[in-house]
Structures are given as structure tokens and as C-alpha cells.
Symmetry: C2
Subunit: 346 residues, 2 copies
């Protein structure tokens, strides 16, 4: 078991710390030359995710390079839609493309039943990473939120406006809820297996929360996040596992996120600068909030913006340093090193 | 593994046999004094089902007493609703009574997510029974059908007309489908674990098929049986496991059962005397059909009616001898012994 005195666990436990624990969303990724050297051995990105030894190597790269306070499973949130038979491919410069997206309500009837054993390669990766980490570095397992997985599965690819998805849930509201329920059950079983395999913390990525207005966010996204966290908190295997929710710029009030999500920690998107710390204090830990674009600026600007974030969270009980979104491929690894130093020396 | 040359497997493989394999629905039950001796040690029937050693003892009792050709897991179909948090109790002379039945659509939103690990006691019972059986006696695992589990969960108890359930599915059709989907996923995961634990054959009990008219039967029951058998037939663990469907007097034509259920064998209710053997021939095996009430009659009548059934299925490729419903507590075990002899000596 991971030492519960690790900085990351202490922050998740809502303890005020002089120096926050540090990890970065997408800390293993294309911005690192070590990563690109491995990536080019695989045509299809998901094939790489299906190799537990490679996932282990990739997850450890940023830990070794930057001495971070938490590792995260190397995988992709689309493993579940892939297991449901939707045929996920990653196309260069386009992101994920589904061979069999959900086009009509009949497609929902015809979906495979989710079988958690089909994603054994993920659980094996978790175990391999856990066995390779030192005792004081917790390992984060993850899944997409039910809504985000549904949006990808219906849209069939990434999109700016997710028009097809929004039309679909309007026209097929009941079937959409059937789909979201099935995805919620799948996420639960999937995260549970990750915890069994060695994950110490769970992060749920609601990466497409932003495309829903407030009413629809509550109906199609938050309702299922709540059901999922409730199940995790009431299960023998996962009840003690802290849950972090990354919700990308949701159109709901802060109170809803704090009170209804069931998460122990909220990971704040970079544009959520007005998030009211007082309503969250002593209820949830907070994570992130730094605009990753800052890392494309000169060092003095990186330092200035980082200090602003650290000033803001200085007295907050339980803050985890992170970006407000994932590291992009255009960021120089030296700046990640520098950013980490700035936080530790603050 | 069980010898695939066993009579039971040969019949499931649609082989015409001189003597059919024999087992009886509810072959372990209150009609046996050995069973009653164990039963009285437990207040609650489900507590008995949660004891794998006791389940093993009970499952073996009829095998030892009557030298039957197949064993069946000792358990109850309501283990799944119990795991979903509906609080199942068995009340003397009343049957199952739910503490928290589904009363409105909100209750469906609030249901626990099914976690197959909560029913480990069932899988342990399967393993214990399998380890205690000789190699040539296959073991049948089972679950209720999604519809039958839904009907019990909504009605909250057994009923003649299931009025509450029929009203509920009329007034909450969409939520009912959400519930049926969740139950289908649960049945799949549950049966899969039973096969992993050692079950050689699966039987699905659609015990409340009879309360639906033809349209509703297809919409609320058959659709989900089809989804379940499709999942089982496409899963690595269960694809080779024969599936028997017991559908109690369904209001659909025989063709639908044969072609749409996805089952390898249909277990015929006692009143399905006009079932057209020709449309089933070489497509599915058949099982049962004898009226269990016959067993309350004198021996000559038992013999006469049994011969009538055996005459009917004499040339049918793949017939399994069984009753058209479970053995009732009022039946004399001597008549089960006699019935078995009549079939073997035919």
C-alpha cells in the first residue's frame, strides 16, 4: 500500500501544506522525446495502450524526468467504447475516429454488454506501474465520465460543437439515458478493477462537460457522475479510494460541483478562475487551475502566473498543483522542469 | 471439464437418444426430508443460499437419491435484486417479499449498480458442487430472465396478476427499459462468473413470461433474453456453454421462441402440449413438458402420462426429460424415484 503520509494523500485528505504535491494531466505524452521514441513503434495508439509493459514504461517517464508526486495510469478513456464494440481508431492529427459510432437508437439496443474482463490489459498496466513505483508515489487510475464517453461514441470523433450528439440526445432522450446508465455501470466495474489491480486514487474525466447547458449538464452528466461516485463510495473494494473529478468548464454553479458530484477533489479547468474557494473549503480538495498555455511563454511569465495560482491557494486546505488541462505536444519539457522547481521553491 | 459424452451434453447437442437424460426443475427442495432437515437450521431462506457448503450439500441430495443426469446449482433467482439493494426476504408460506420494491421511477434512478463480486457466495457454491460431482454429471448454473427479475422487483412479491407491475411498465415505460437493460447486464456478468466457477450449462428462468401479452412479451421479455444470449454467445468464457430457456407459457408463437431467443434448448411448460416439434427440430433441443401434478396421482397414471410424453419426443433429436415446472413440496419422493425408473425402462 502507498504511504498515506505521501504529500498527495495528505492534500487529498484536505490538509493544508507548505508545498503542494505536483502532477500534471497528460504528464506522459508527445511533448517528451522519450515518449515519441516509444510511440513511433506503434501504428495505432490503442495498440500501444493494449501493451501493459509499454504503458508502464510511459507512465514512469515523467516521474523519472521531473520527480513528480503522483503517477497516472497510461491509457485512454476510450477503452470502454472500444470494448462495447464501437471500433475506436486514432488517426494522426485527427484524434479518435469511431468505426461504428452511435447513429440511431437501434445502435444502442445492439451495443455489446460491457464485460470488464475485456480490459484486462489496463488492469495489468496498473499492476505493472504500481510495482515499479516507489512506495511514496501514489498511482492514479482513471476513466471518462459516462457523459464524455457517450458524447464521443455518438459524435464518432472529437468536435468543437458536438452538434450530432446534442441533436441525438434531444431526439432520443430515453435511449440516451439507457446508454448513459450502461456506461455508468461500465465505469464502475472498470474503475473497481483498476483499484483491485493497484490504483490508489481515481480520476474521472468529464472532458465534454462544457458542451451542455446547465439543465442538460445536470440531466446528462452530473446525474451519472453522482451515481458512479455513490457506487464507488459504497463498494467494499473502492470505498476508501479518493475520487478526483475533472469537469471541463461545466455550465453549473460551483455549489453543484462541490455538493452533488460525490468527489473528494475537484480538478479546476484553467478558465475557472472565479471558482469560489469558500464554498469548497473543508468539503473538497482542489487541483489544477493553471492555464497550460503559460508554458509556451518565457520563464519569467511562467513564474509570475504560477506564483499567482500558488498565492490564491496558499491557505486552502488540500491543494494539488496541476494544470487546468493536459500538457500539449508543443510544450518544451524544460518548462515542465522549471514549473516544478518554481512550485517547490515558492 | 465435464465429459462431453454425457447423456445431457449429447441431448443438448441435438442428438437423438434411446433414453433421454433426466433431471428435474427444483429437484433439490422441500419435498425431500433431507432438504427439510437442512432448511430448518436457517430462519431466512436467502441466508441458506449464502452458505456455499450448504448449497453444495443440497444440490447433491437429489443426485444421490435418484441418480440423475444433471445437477443444478442450489440458489435463488432473487440473488440479483438482493445485490441491487431491494432487500429480499423469504416469508413462510408467502414466498419472497421485498423490503424496498420499485415503487416509482425515482427508485430505478437510485438502484445500486450491480457488482458481480457481491454474489461470490454463489460462485463458491458452483465450485463446491462441481468439485463434488462425478465427471459425467454436468452442472447447470442459472439466473432469472431480466423480465422476471424486474417483475418481482416491481411487484415486491409473488402475485397472480402482477397488476402493480403491469401498471408500472405502462406508466414508466422508458424507466422500465432502463431497469431491464441494467438487469440484462447484471444477468450476463452473473452467469459469466458462474461459468468461470464451473457451471457447464446455463438455464434462464423466465418464470413470469406468462403475464405479458404477445406485444409486451416481445418488448419487455424476449428483447432482453435475446440481448443476454447474444452476449453470452459472443463472450470468450461463455460462448461454448449451452443455454436452456425456461419460458413459462409465453404468449408468443413457437417460431419466436425457436428463432429469437438465442437458446440452444427450450424447456417446455407443462401446458405447452401443442408446441410444434417440427419447427424446432434440428434447431433447438427440447426439455420438460410433463405436468408435475401427475406426480400426485397413482403409479399407473404416472406411467401412462410419462409414456405419452416419451412417445411424443421419441424421434425428436435432443430431448431432455424433465417436468413442465418445478417439483412442488407436496410430491412424494418415491414418485420421483418411480418416474425416473419409468423413463429409464421405457
Amino acid at each position: 500500500m502507498t504511504n498515506s503520509n505521501s504529500l498527495f494523500f495528505r492534500a487529498l485528505n484536505k490538509e493544508g501544506l507548505k508545498t503542494p504535491p505536483i502532477w500534471y494531466m497528460r504528464q506522459a505524452g508527445r511533448y517528451m522525446p522519450e515518449y515519441r521514441a516509444v510511440r513511433k513503434k506503434f501504428n495505432n495508439f490503442l495498440d500501444m495502450c493494449k501493451n501493459p509493459d509499454v504503458c508502464c514504461e510511459l507512465a514512469l517517464q515523467p516521474i523519472n524526468a521531473f520527480d513528480l508526486d503522483a503517477a497516472i495510469l497510461f491509457s485512454d478513456i476510450l477503452t470502454i467504447p472500444d470494448a462495447l464494440g464501437l471500433g475506436v481508431n486514432f488517426v494522426e492529427n485527427e484524434g479518435p475516429v469511431f468505426k461504428n459510432p452511435i447513429n440511431n437508437s437501434k445502435d444502442i439496443d445492439n451495443l455489446n454488454i460491457f464485460n470488464p474482463d475485456e480490459l484486462k490489459y489496463v488492469y495489468q498496466a496498473v499492476t505493472n506501474i504500481k510495482n515499479s513505483l516507489s512506495n511514496n508515489i501514489p498511482l492514479i487510475g482513471f476513466s471518462g465520465s459516462p457523459w464524455t464517453l457517450a458524447a464521443y461514441s455518438i459524435e464518432g470523433k472529437s468536435s468543437k460543437d458536438f452538434k450530432k450528439t446534442l441533436n441525438f440526445i434531444n431526439e432520443n432522450t430515453n435511449k440516451s439515458h439507457i446508454f448513459l446508465n450502461a456506461l455508468t455501470d461500465a465505469c464502475f466495474l472498470y474503475l473497481r478493477e483498476q483499484v483491485k489491480a493497484g490504483a490508489d486514487v481515481i480520476q474521472i474525466f468529464d472532458s465534454w462537460a462544457n458542451i451542455l447547458d446547465e439543465n442538460r449538464f445536470n440531466e446528462f452528466s452530473m446525474q451519472y457522475i453522482n451515481k458512479l461516485t455513490y457506487a464507488l463510495k459504497n463498494d467494499k473494494v473502492t470505498s476508501k479510494t479518493p475520487i478526483i473529478l475533472f469537469s471541463r468548464d461545466p455550465k453549473c454553479n460551483n455549489q453543484t460541483l462541490v455538493n452533488n458530484s460525490g468527489a473528494d477533489c475537484l480538478s479546476l479547468y484553467w478558465n475557472m478562475q472565479d471558482f469560489d474557494l469558500n464554498i469548497a473549503r473543508n468539503k473538497v480538495s482542489l487541483q489544477g487551475n493553471l492555464d497550460p498555455r503559460i508554458l509556451l511563454e518565457p520563464k519569467d511569465k511562467i513564474k509570475y502566473q504560477t506564483h499567482k495560482i500558488l498565492d490564491k491557494f496558499k491557505d486552502y486546505p488540500g491543494y494539488i498543483f496541476n494544470l487546468g488541462h493536459g500538457i500539449t505536444p508543443d510544450i518544451n519539457p524544460d518548462n515542465i522542469k522549471y514549473l516544478t522547481e518554481v512550485v517547490r521553491e515558492y
